[in-house]
């Protein structure tokens, strides 16, 4: 589970990182790596770019926190989201020009923890089996919805079904795959995911 995102917890974490506590930096990475990764992937739809940028986001956030640039610890999450958005936007802005090299600071925490990678592999395997477990019609509806971005009315027309049937099947398929991936993933990874907390 993530480090508890309370106001006090944030203040302790931010203060500890500013004081050079490497354990606090590890806790920061454990707390924000997954949501940052998901956000970048959802916004870019590019797994390779996501892998590169997630590291840059973590490095930039840790460097800023080390320098004590975040005045209001309550806004820690907002601060991380802002960095992620800026880096992604910058990537698209400078794609036409020469990309700027990222300077690597010393003593960084592990930015690709084995537990996170293990979870991702598990999730990918479970996603494949969840997709295979769907009826072909549901799989097609799900793909047309999530990948092609089509509305139920358009899908209904293409598949010769009614909009209501498409909507119903889509909801059922989404619930099914989400439960299968999430439920199984949580069962299989329980015990792997221990997250440290910042020392106060």
């Amino acid at each position: 589970m993530l480090t508890e995102p309370t106001g006090q917890g944030n203040a302790r974490l931010v203060q500890a990182i500013a004081q050079g506590d490497s354990e606090a930096e590890g806790a920061f990475v454990n707390r924000y790596l997954r949501p940052v990764k998901f956000m970048l992937l959802a916004r870019s739809n590019d797994p390779d770019l996501t892998v590169d940028l997630v590291q840059d986001v973590m490095i930039e956030a840790i460097c800023s926190l080390r320098k004590g640039r975040l005045r209001d610890p309550e806004k820690l999450t907002h601060f991380v989201i802002g960095i992620a958005r800026n880096l992604l936007n910058n990537h698209y802005r400078i794609r036409m020009r020469r990309p700027e090299p990222v300077e690597l600071p010393a003593n960084l925490p592990d930015l690709a923890p084995a537990s996170v990678e293990f979870e991702e592999q598990q999730r990918e395997t479970l996603a494949m089996s969840a997709i295979s477990s769907l009826e072909p019609v549901d799989r097609t509806i799900l793909k047309m919805t999530l990948v092609d971005g089509l509305k139920p009315g358009v899908i209904a027309e293409r598949l010769g079904l009614s909009s209501d049937v498409v909507r119903q099947r889509k909801l059922r398929a989404i619930r099914r795959v989400t439960e299968l991936v999430r439920g199984e993933s949580q069962r299989e990874t329980s015990g792997h995911n221990t997250v440290g907390r910042a020392r106060s």
Binding site: T77, N89, T145, L159, L161
Partner: protein
């Protein structure tokens, strides 16, 4: 701890993944799942499923026909096969083997196994000609050409004919000209006009400094694959890899997946 039961993810996740959630709502949802493990887990699960579905081979969506109609259609096909079998047998009896104008019989026709052994390896199924994702103009900074903006809006709506029309109006010297040519190439390929697509993509790939050389080469490789032209696909993928850019790994994987026997 959060008391959330996952309702925000159930409400917003699908539109968020499709990129259709209004900006303000998307920002609120992001702020929520950054702090909510329940919604984050749901989001990651559906996000992974979406990625996996996106990588599955594309099939033309056929209409799902109701059972009585399907049964009738199957019956008709079976009847045609039976009639065809007996019809060919009768026709062969009438035709002289090896005589010009007659139907070649098994003696004069290459065997099925021989046909198979010489059949070219179909690499077209490796081609990925889906429209590449494009990000809203707000991500690209200010000063965007209006024709380019309108073309990319149409592109985002998967309306390739309208996108092509608008992108063609982007002035040649404009900052967005290379990107306009690139996305025009992608649209042309998506519409099946490979010749126009190659012309546009080649001009982007050969113009250094556009920042889109790698993508243009990679997409040219997809067209070569779609045409079953393994040599051209290998060549363009090798050139893509040589640029050591964002899609190097994907190009390497695709190059490795082209069967050695394919020409």
């Amino acid at each position: 701890m959060s008391n959330c039961t996952g309702a925000p993810a159930q409400q917003w996740l699908e539109a968020y993944l499709q990129g259709t959630l209004p900006k303000a709502q998307a920002l609120r949802f992001e702020e929520h799942y950054f702090e909510c493990p329940v919604c984050l887990a749901q989001a990651e699960a559906l996000g992974t499923v979406t990625q996996k579905l996106g990588r599955q081979p594309k099939k033309a969506p056929g209409k799902i026909v109701a059972w009585p109609a399907r049964a009738a259609a199957l019956g008709a096909i079976a009847a045609l096969l039976v009639l065809g079998f007996f019809g060919i047998r009768e026709f062969r009896k009438l035709a002289q083997p090896g005589v010009a104008g007659g139907v070649p019989t098994a003696a004069t026709r290459p065997s099925v196994s021989a046909q198979h052994s010489n059949a070219p390896v179909q690499i077209s199924q490796l081609a990925d000609l889906t429209l590449l994702p494009y990000h809203a103009p707000s991500l690209r900074g200010l000063g965007e050409d209006p024709h380019f903006a309108s073309g990319m809006t149409a592109y985002g709506a998967q309306d390739c004919p309208r996108a092509l029309k608008a992108l063609a109006q982007v002035p040649a010297g404009n900052e967005d000209a290379s990107a306009a040519r690139f996305y025009s190439g992608v649209c042309s390929a998506n519409l099946g006009d490979f010749r126009a697509a190659e012309e546009q993509l080649r001009s982007v790939a050969s113009a250094s400094g556009s920042g889109l050389e790698e993508q243009a080469l990679y997409y040219m490789a997809q067209i070569a694959l779609a045409r079953n032209d393994a040599a051209a696909a290998r060549d363009t993928l090798t050139r893509t890899i040589a640029l050591h850019g964002d899609i190097e790994q994907r190009a390497r994987a695709q190059l490795a997946s082209i069967p050695t026997g394919a020409h």
